[in-house]
């Protein structure tokens, strides 16, 4: 990635000419390029439609919704839905719980994944293939199947209805995927780098923290972001495990609005908008990390 940006005035003449030709070619954009542009713009617009509908309905009063239907733009700014929802579920606390759980899980799962993957990918322990297969299988297991066993376990350990219980469960679930991914990244780790470190007298622990982790840091930060967002959006396990409203997460709090027979469309939209904003903000902050790609890294 960095090599592309190093074409400066100091580059040889041939190089410069080639790059000039490239800019000229870029300027002569054919009609096909515009067709692609138009197509992508249309696609982006289509992707934004659901979001727009949510925003529309979040800003409507229930009477307006019933009178004009879900697709009409709001007549004015109606913020009561957002305000009511905030107070009804004590959204500040819910937000804090979600951030706490997702943050802890993201950090914990990345740490666990690194340690596991170091043993599997670089340490090449015996039977690593089977360990990976088991982890992958655990990953494909539907959460519904896990709920009852986990419920009894957490009850035994006194972790039922605690945030710690949910953090442990998700740290393990997420690190199963993390281990699987990182092991394959680390199995292609350049051996000469490891050998050089060993010759310099580094122990296993030092190699991990001084050599391996800095090199795969971009991958780790991507994993961190994904774990955070995935855990944020989890519904079933938090719903089952966090009984008291004091411990609830954002996605569970949204469920309060779906009644047995009726739903409150405008308030649901307002709530969805509130629940969405933190992940969008988090995504924007870490956008650069994400765009580096899941398997970025390796040797410079």
């Amino acid at each position: 990635m960095t090599t592309l940006t190093t074409r400066t005035a100091g580059a040889p003449a041939g190089e410069r000419r080639r790059s000039a030709r490239r800019t000229r070619r870029r300027r002569r954009r054919g009609p096909s390029a515009y067709a692609v542009l138009v197509g992508m713009t249309a696609l982006a617009a289509i992707m934004l439609i659901p979001f727009v509908v949510v925003v529309f309905n979040a800003l409507k009063s229930p009477a307006e919704y019933s009178a004009n239907g879900p697709l009409a733009p709001p007549e004015g700014l109606y913020l009561q839905g957002v305000r009511d929802f905030w107070e009804r579920v004590d959204f500040g606390r819910v937000l804090f719980n979600s951030a706490l759980i997702s943050g802890s899980v993201a950090v914990g799962a990345v740490l666990l994944s690194v340690l596991n993957a170091y043993a599997l990918g670089i340490g090449r322990v015996k039977g690593r293939m089977w360990v990976l297969v088991v982890l992958l299988m655990a990953n494909t297991l539907p959460q519904e199947a896990l709920v009852y066993p986990l419920f009894y376990l957490s009850k035994q350990f006194g972790l039922y209805d605690t945030r710690l219980g949910v953090i442990i469960v998700f740290t393990v679930i997420q690190s199963a995927f993390g281990t699987y991914l990182l092991s394959s990244v680390l199995s292609t780790f350049p051996r000469p780098l490891l050998e050089a470190a060993r010759i310099d007298g580094a122990g296993r622990w030092q190699i991990l923290w001084r050599v391996v982790v800095p090199v795969v840091r971009p991958t780790l930060s991507v994993l961190l972001v994904f774990f955070f967002i995935w855990t944020w959006n989890e519904f079933l396990i938090p719903m089952v495990f966090l009984q008291s409203n004091d411990n609830q997460t954002v996605s569970v709090a949204l469920g309060v609005l779906h009644g047995q027979r009726l739903m409150d469309a405008t308030m649901s939209s307002a709530a969805a908008l509130l629940g969405l904003i933190p992940t969008v903000v988090f995504f924007l902050i870490f956008q650069r990390t994400l765009s580096r790609g899941l398997t970025a890294g390796a040797i410079k």
């Binding site: 019933s66 039922y160 840091r217």
Partner: protein, 427 residues
């Protein structure tokens, strides 16, 4: 590329935060004799929400020193997690729970609910609830409703009825029907004017209520008992069911019900009625409060013309978990919700109270709603809901309704339902 300081600092901050905060997990579990932990899932502006808020205030006023710790839950959350919560130390002292064999019946069978028969007799609740409503409060050893032991108390009831838009009836010169034949005539007049008479939602509960109602028109209470409580052999291909399914399919063909409503949700159908696009909506009393608040036209309600029975039952139940640590307080709370002033508040807010004083209901439409209910309850007219007898029957009924709307033959659709019914009935 990645300045080393930032990422590490962030990691450290997150890790430190998580450590500090997981330490203060805990909570719940410990019992407090001065706190009533109460869960329900009605929205604060619904009739039940309004009445129960008032009940909580009255409870705290009559029990000095006792606080009510109310937690609002989602319907789905309570449905999915109740068996687990009630089995743990974190069970609330009292909660609202869905009535029926597959829900409250199942919990009572598993021994998770407190048998409140003694309290019911002592406090006289059995005299306030008509036998037709009490069916869903009492379960037998198998968890089948209509049993001998009380496991819950409903504060309200529900039934299906027709909401009609008076302005559309006037505009098209159609007379509001009072008999089944007049209903058919009125629908023909609407169709002739290019108006679809009924709003409908094929993807949700509305379609099956039509089928059930059209079958009930040809049935009697024994037929309902056989189907709902397994007192006899239920034959889903009998004359009443066949009439129900055939008539429903016929109504779709004639345009009384729009064919393209097959994939609509109840929310869409209700909003379409509130927007004034359809002259009639056949659905439950749970729409009443919303129509009252949001419809901008002149409207009213009526029972199904010519019908003596309709879908309906007592509402959701207050149940007391076996593990409740404050049972006495819980029963005191139920007692308050059954008092006249709370019941009247429920009625005035658009609900159907079970023990209100009709004279105290001021809203004329609500008064009519409650009077019609009393008529039904006195005459054994509540026929419960078609999807109740068998677990998972609701989805089968939705698909049956959709198949009928799409032109499948009624006999094959009913035959499929019979198979599902037979395999799901408790032995």
């Amino acid at each position: 590329m990645n300045r080393p300081g930032r990422g590490t600092a962030l990691l450290a901050a997150l890790a430190a935060g998580s450590l500090a905060l997981t330490a203060c997990g805990g909570g719940g579990g410990e019992s407090n004799p001065n706190e009533l932990r109460l869960w329900h899932y009605e929205s604060p502006d619904s009739a039940m929400g309004v009445a129960w808020n008032q009940a909580i205030k009255e409870f705290e006023a009559t029990h000095p020193g006792v606080k009510v710790k109310f937690e609002e839950k989602g319907f789905e959350q309570i449905q999915k997690t109740a068996p687990m919560v009630l089995n743990s130390n974190d069970a609330p002292d009292i909660l609202e729970y869905n009535k029926g064999n597959a829900t409250a019946g199942l919990l009572s069978k598993q021994g998770l609910l407190d048998d409140m028969s003694a309290e019911v007799a002592k406090r006289g609740w059995d005299k306030m609830l008509s036998p037709n409503i009490a069916v869903t409060s009492k379960y037998d050893a198998k968890g089948v409703m209509g049993g001998d032991k009380w496991y819950g108390i409903p504060n309200y009831a529900e039934y299906t009825l027709i909401y009609y838009n008076k302005e559309l009836f006037d505009k098209h010169g159609v007379k509001v029907p009072t008999t089944y034949d007049e209903l058919i005539k009125a629908m023909d007049q609407f169709v002739a004017k290019g108006v679809t008479p009924f709003t409908n939602a094929g993807a949700e509960v509305m379609a099956q209520h039509f089928i059930y109602q059209l079958a009930l028109d040809k049935a009697d209470p024994n037929w309902v008992q056989a189907y709902q409580r397994y007192t006899g052999k239920a034959n889903l291909t009998d004359q009443a069911w066949t009439a129900g399914a055939t008539t429903f399919a016929d109504w779709v063909k004639k345009g009384y019900i729009a064919k393209n409503s097959v994939s609509l949700k109840a929310e869409d159908a209700g909003v379409a009625f509130i927007q004034g696009k359809f002259p009639m909506m056949f659905s439950g009393t749970w729409w009443f409060g919303r129509v009252l608040k949001e419809a901008k036209f002149d409207w009213d309600t009526m029972l199904w013309p010519g019908g003596t029975m309709t879908a309906g039952s007592g509402g959701n139940l207050w149940v007391v978990p076996k593990g409740s640590k404050n049972k006495k307080l819980a029963y005191d709370f139920i007692d308050i919700t059954m008092k006249k002033n709370i019941q009247n508040a429920l009625g005035n807010a658009g609900g159907v109270p079970v023990a209100a004083d009709p004279a105290a209901i001021t809203e004329p439409k609500a008064k009519k709603l409650i009077e019609n209910f009393d008529r039904l309850a006195k005459n054994n007219g509540l026929a419960y809901y078609p999807d109740w007898p068998v677990p998972g029957f609701y989805d089968k009924w939705v698909s049956a309704g959709q198949k009928l709307m799409n032109g499948s033959s009624p006999s094959s659709v009913l035959g499929d339902l019979q198979k599902d019914y037979d395999s799901g009935v408790p032995k």
